[in-house]
């Protein structure tokens, strides 16, 4: 199952790309409209990019009245990403979305590096959302923690139905000439290939800790990248930065993933999910272990 990463596709300006996905995830919606941060908002780095969009969105009222009806016409399952600045806001956002049958999942953005987030814990935020909706809730966690294990368990205990892993990590890029920050907000969220090993570690750890369904994302560019996230434990994968350079990536990566499976003689993704957790080799004791100083042959 291939989704877009929140904030990395506008289904209304690129409906064909959205239709090539198994589900479309909206950009994070907040209670009030947000214009977002001043430009410059994006910059390329050696192995990724930084963005400081700052959750630009029309706010939940206009989203529900103007945007959602048009998204529904796409005929693609819809996930709505919501972002609050406190637990109460997460609760209110989920309550507002709850009555809309066309929304299949609510993703809680608990991890935007470009705004000052809530003070409450992941558990409190997820619990507030859980009280306000019967829809499936996916908690999107930050990769900036040494303890995915606790964050994932806390989200699960508070009622999350799944996890989205990972959001971007704060980074800084300097102008080559002036040595001043390129982005107007100075720091931004790092995405792209640099994030893949971090995403793999997060998915690996959270899968082991909770067994919850996971949407894996972070630097996926190829079917093999997607396969690795599934092997680490992801049930679905989401494409972010790769969509910027290749709008045809969903179809391409689905094809590459199918080939990866057939090369391995695996009939479906479920059979390879979590493969990274299975013990595959048991070291055998070496029967003879001799030590000798040898000369390089001429």
């Amino acid at each position: 199952m291939i989704l877009n990463a929140s904030g990395c596709l506008d289904a209304l300006t690129a409906p064909d790309v959205a239709r090539s996905l198994d589900a479309f995830v909206t950009k994070t919606v907040t209670l009030l409209p947000r214009e977002g941060n001043a430009p410059v908002r994006i910059v390329e780095t050696e192995v990724g990019m930084l963005n400081s969009i700052g959750l630009a969105n029309p706010g939940i009222d206009r989203f529900l009245s103007d945007v959602l009806p048009r998204l529904e016409e796409l005929g693609v399952p819809l996930w709505v990403s919501v972002g609050g600045f406190c637990a109460g806001e997460f609760g209110e956002l989920c309550a507002r979305v709850d009555s809309h049958a066309e929304v299949s999942v609510i993703e809680l953005n608990l991890s935007c590096p470009n705004v000052d987030g809530p003070e409450e814990s992941v558990a409190e935020l997820v619990a507030a959302a859980r009280r306000s909706t019967r829809k499936a809730i996916f908690a999107k966690l930050s990769p900036v923690t040494l303890d995915f294990d606790s964050a994932a368990r806390a989200a699960q205990a508070a009622g999350a139905d799944g996890l989205s892993l990972v959001n971007t990590i704060r980074g800084l890029a300097l102008d080559a000439r002036t040595l001043r920050p390129v982005l107007s907000r100075e720091v931004g969220g790092l995405s792209g290939p640099a994030l893949k090993p971090i995403a793999l570690a997060a998915v690996h750890e959270c899968y082991r800790a909770t067994g919850l369904p996971i949407v894996g994302m972070g630097g996926i560019c190829t079917g093999h990248d997607a396969l690795e996230l599934v092997a680490a434990g992801a049930r679905a994968v989401a494409l972010g930065t790769i969509l910027f350079s290749d709008p045809a990536a969903p179809t391409r990566i689905a094809g590459e993933l199918a080939r990866e499976l057939s090369i391995r003689g695996v009939s479906c993704l479920d059979n390879i999910r979590g493969a990274a957790h299975e013990p595959t080799f048991s070291p055998k004791p070496n029967p003879q272990l001799e030590v000798e100083r040898l000369t390089v042959a001429r």
């Binding site: 690129a14 409906p15 410059v40 390329e44 963005n51 792209g192 969509l243 350079s245 045809a248």
Partner: protein, 217 residues
């Protein structure tokens, strides 16, 4: 073409679009594609004029015959061509979309400005153009009369034109990651609001082709 490279690509299935529209070109070795205005639409070719100012544009200008790159477009809003008496104004690499526009408008009056004589060699793309080199600026040689200005160039030139010819169609630039409305990275202020230049521009005051963008796949 002086310091600029004319990158000629076999057209494939891509349509050239309208003058002022742009394409996203894979820059080999870089993560993000680079926006480039279509410079010339020949029968089987799309040609782009590239100013090698950084890693991406240097990679594009050192492509060799037979190399393959991913390209998508045409994107954004182009120039409105149904005007009474068009005048093309270009500065530096900003002349890139004007050869295609000049062809579509049957060689309208054109004024081009460059930093140096070397840069001005690119003016050969529009043989009928009047050309000036700094310290003279294009705004000093605008012909008298009631013209519909279509312009592309550095920001100070566009700002100056906007003051002289309020209704001018101006093609602006912003850093872009996707070119098709996906990243919200390219916003500029338009009418007091931050709007995506790749969707609502790059030509402002020009023709609107409206979102959604055409089929990308």
């Amino acid at each position: 073409m002086g310091p600029y490279a004319l990158l000629r690509l076999a057209r494939g299935r891509l349509e050239p679009g309208i003058p002022g529209q742009f394409f996203m070109l894979e820059a080999p070795g870089r993560l993000l594609p680079r926006p480039m205005s279509l410079c010339l639409a020949r029968p089987r070719e799309l040609a782009f004029l590239v100013d090698p100012v950084g890693p991406g544009t240097r990679a594009l200008s050192s492509l060799e015959t037979g190399d393959r790159i991913m390209v998508f477009g045409p994107l954004g809003n182009g120039f409105r061509l149904d005007v009474r008496s068009p005048l093309l104004v270009g500065g530096g690499i900003g002349i890139a979309p004007l050869p295609y526009a000049a062809g579509a408008l049957r060689a309208p009056p054109t004024v081009l400005g460059f930093r140096t004589r070397h840069h001005a060699e690119a003016a050969s793309l529009i043989p009928s153009a009047e050309v000036v080199v700094e310290p003279t600026f294009v705004t000093e040689i605008l012909p008298a009369g009631d013209f519909d200005v279509l312009a592309c160039g550095p920001e100070p030139m566009l700002e100056a034109l906007r003051r002289i010819v309020p209704g001018a169609q101006l093609a602006w630039e912003a850093p872009m990651a996707c070119g098709y409305g996906a990243c919200w990275g390219c916003v500029v202020e338009m009418g007091g609001q931050l709007r995506r230049l790749c969707v609502d521009g790059p030509v402002i005051n020009g023709g609107t082709h409206g979102s959604p963008v055409g089929p990308l796949l």
